[in-house]
Amino acid sequence: MTVLRRLGTLLLAPALAVLIAVAISAAVMALLGVDPLQVLSVMVDLGDTPSQQITAVVAILNRALPLFLAGLAVAIGFRMSLFNIGVEGQYRMATIMAAAVGAAVTLPGPLHVLLIIVVAMAVGAIWAGIVAVLKVTRGVSEVISSIMLNFIALGLASYLLTGPFRGSPEGASTVSTAQIPESGRLGGLNGIFDVLGLANPPRQLYGFLLVAVLVGIVVWVLLQRTRFGFDLRATGLSPSAASASGVDARRMVVKAMLLSGAVAGLIGLPDLLGRTYDYNTDFTSGLGFLGIAVALLGRNNPGGIALAAILYAFLDRASVPLQAASLPSSVVTIIQGTIVLAVVVANEIAGRITRRAAERASRQSSGPPPDDSMTTRRVPGVVSEGTP
């Protein structure tokens, strides 16, 4: 019961935000003369045959993977009140370096993949580390420096792509790095559809899903269960109280940014290792910024971020069928945008509600001194997770 209630209050804000966003989007559609119900039915229609439906699900999951990693990277920063807007630049740099290194070496299977992952994480961490160093040594706001570094990263990536790392022939329509050989690629997980007795779709479910799940669990344990995570969250809640408790705030900034950057480095890998095998001019962009929205919607909690990423991926997938039905696909963007606005408002409202409930409960109990039975009693909606 109490667990359900806690879960209920946790989900209250995001659910409210999604509802508000859908309502606003519906109003906008109605204003534009588009039937909101028709749009909605197209969006939830995954296909006619089981094969089509599974394909759609795979497409959603494949899209959700990088979004989940991006949300996770942003959330690590958020947890200690660091606004890492530089995730975009961090994953671009990481991906192109990983693609170049992956294409340049030949190693036995798992080692090759591992090397690519390590390179990506290291490059992401270094790129984020610049922000951290600037912040702790010169007091530069991480917001400013990480935005600046995004531009530098984009410029640098295109220079590397057209210059030293160019692997595509002259005159090709897309410029790309050299292809990563077979040993550096991650196979799909479509085997599980056969095991489950479902139709095997033509599209491959990225094998990186396993890595992402593992990263999600590790990050959750690290933040929620370890001393390091406690220090990090304490710094986010109150830097002054954290340093009085013995946390070295500057070192914490560096550690959190490195961790955030390392996770950001993974964002491009599902596509790189599972589909494109090279970094090219058409490589998925904007994931870093979407990550901010996903982290907000998921309340900086890995589980919530996973749900938020799937929701965003679901909305993204809908744009193609919407176009096919000659409906404006920008509806998707409107919903995604209003979710972000609504979630900020809803988080604040939900926070106030839970806080007020807790204050009421504590006033009521101020009469008799506490006794043993208190240890098993729980206050509804006590959320230990910080919100940015």
Binding site: F230, G246, A358, S362, D372, M374
Partner: protein, 514 residues
């Protein structure tokens, strides 16, 4: 000031409660028209809460506010302004890149055809400036003004909105002596024009110079009024501190030989170009000894505590914990080795308000059992131990999962004291341990400190409550402008003598000085 003319402001039985902060209870205030009325009290006594109530920034839970004899309900500062009440904040709220004129009219601009009517604004401002001798230059940029001029702009801003009653919150805190004199000249002008001034301060000499009558606040309630002509600063100080409080006195010395904390020639630099905030301070705290630091706030006490805790780097000097030199240690290492800490501002340094109590139990003890198992947090043990602290230290809350913000100030403080004591520290840095807590929690905390002292804990105590300092301390130092200027025997010293040292009044050593 006869009974027939209604009072400018009258507060009857104002009570304001909110969790985590000292409340106002049963405030009685009578301010006659055309007088300068001072409200004095220690920091944290509830002056600001009261003034916020009067300025409509929050609504009282009980009581009445009467302005010019009529009851008013102030829901926002706008209501207060409409009722003729204006507030000059301690921290100026001016836009630096605007001119004096623009700053004054900001928010209530006279317009002509939708545009700012500068001519009309200038007329009004010149009028105000002349009639109250404020000497304003409307076209000067605020960033080019000195502190005294800025304050006059703030006053003009309030007058421009038609205020007849001005609240000045610690107006002299930011001024140098000459500017203070100028301000008092301005206040006399305001008074002559029939305006009422409510003047908040804790500087007793100034209050006696400028005020026509005085109301004293202590622990959230008004304890009396005084006539500045017949009351001495000492008598006022006694009213502020109070004589009938539960006594913190400890008379049997438990001081042992072994020193637990030795500070020698410690110097902490101030900001660039300013003098040292802690200047060549040396002292020793022994086992079972309470060493008190008296001083007007802002004379380096906080910085001294920060330096001992490792939050500030000293420029010179050493700190020894027992026999080990800890000057270069990190804060964490110091805390692990037995430095306990009760911060002066528990919300800033002592608690994670949005986190549950059990996480607050861990704070500051992240590397020690029972909260931690290896690299992991032991949530179960932390919760159990939080329940134990709540039981043993009488922290009243629903349970360990309650967020800290939901607790009253006294309960938060008891949790902090319990948490620090549970780690059996060797030395405890206690800064204002009973600030902003109710009388019940205060005596509990005093008992806890006395018990710990008897068991051999060394305590470095900083407090603004002179009774507390005199009652608890075995040795008492006075800190002024970063230096230890006197060491007195708490068994013989009186608050008046102590107050003299704190303000630099005494330079010679009378009887009672060790």
């Amino acid at each position: 000031m006869t009974e027939s003319t209604p009072l400018a402001v009258e507060l009857r039985g104002i009570t304001k409660r909110f969790p985590g902060v000292v409340a106002n209870s049963d405030i009685e205030l009578r301010v006659a028209r055309g007088e300068v009325h001072a409200i004095v009290g220690e920091n944290g006594a509830g002056k600001s809460t009261l003034m916020k109530t009067l300025y409509g920034m929050h609504r009282p839970d009980e009581g009445q506010i009467l302005v010019d004899g009529r009851e008013v309900h102030l829901r926002s500062p706008n209501d207060a302004i409409a009722a003729g009440i204006g507030m000059v904040h301690q921290h100026f709220m001016l836009a630096d890149n605007f001119t004096v004129l623009e700053n004054i009219v900001l928010g209530s601009e006279p317009t002509k055809g939708g545009r700012l009517d500068r001519a009309a604004a200038r007329r009004r401002i010149t009028e105000i400036s002349d009639s109250y001798s404020l000497g304003l230059q409307p076209d000067v940029l605020v960033e080019d003004l000195g502190v005294g001029d800025r304050q006059r702009v703030e006053i003009a801003k309030v007058l421009y909105r038609g205020a007849r009653i001005l609240i000045l919150d610690e107006p002299t805190a930011v001024l140098v002596p000459q500017e203070v004199d100028e301000l008092f000249g301005n206040l006399a002008e305001l008074k002559r024009e029939g305006l009422t001034v409510i003047f908040i301060s804790h500087k007793l000499d100034e209050v006696r110079k400028v005020a026509d009558s005085i109301t004293v606040i202590r622990r959230g309630t008004t304890v009396g009024t005084a006539d500045p002509a017949t009351t001495t600063a000492r008598q006022l100080a006694e009213m502020m501190v109070g004589a009938e409080l539960p006594t913190p006195a400890t008379r049997d010395s438990t001081v042992r030989e072994a020193p637990v904390l030795r500070i020698s020639h410690l110097t902490v630099p101030g900001g660039v170009g300013s003098r040292a905030v802690v200047d060549d301070v040396s002292m020793t705290v022994r086992e079972g000894e309470v060493v008190g630091i008296a001083g007007v706030e802002g004379n380096g006490q906080s910085e001294l505590i920060d330096a001992v805790l490792g939050l500030r780097l000293p420029a010179a000097g050493t700190v020894l914990l027992g026999e080990e030199e800890i000057t270069d240690w990190s804060t964490r290492r110091r805390r692990e080795r037995g430095v306990g800490f009760i911060p002066e501002d528990r919300h800033r340094q002592g608690m994670l308000l949005d986190a549950p109590l059990w996480e607050n139990r861990i704070l500051g003890h992240q590397t020690r059992p029972p909260a931690v198992k290896g690299a992991f947090i032991d949530r179960k043990a932390a919760r159990t131990d939080t329940s134990r602290i709540m039981r043993e230290y009488d922290v009243r809350a629903p349970g360990p999962n309650t967020p800290a913000v939901a607790l009253s100030g006294g309960n938060q403080q008891k949790l902090i004291v319990g948490r620090e004591m549970s780690a059996s520290p060797r030395v405890l840095l206690a800064a204002h341990p009973t600030r902003g807590v109710d009388v019940g929690a205060q005596s509990v905390i005093w008992e806890l400190l006395k018990d710990a002292r008897a068991e051999g804990l060394g305590i470095l105590l900083v407090s603004a409550d002179l009774e507390e300092l005199i009652g608890l301390s075995d040795t008492l130092h006075v800190m002024l402008r970063g230096k230890l200027v006197a060491t007195v025997d708490p068994r013989q010293v009186t608050p008046e003598v102590l107050g003299g040292y704190m303000t630099g009044g005494h330079e010679t050593s009378p009887a009672g000085v060790a």
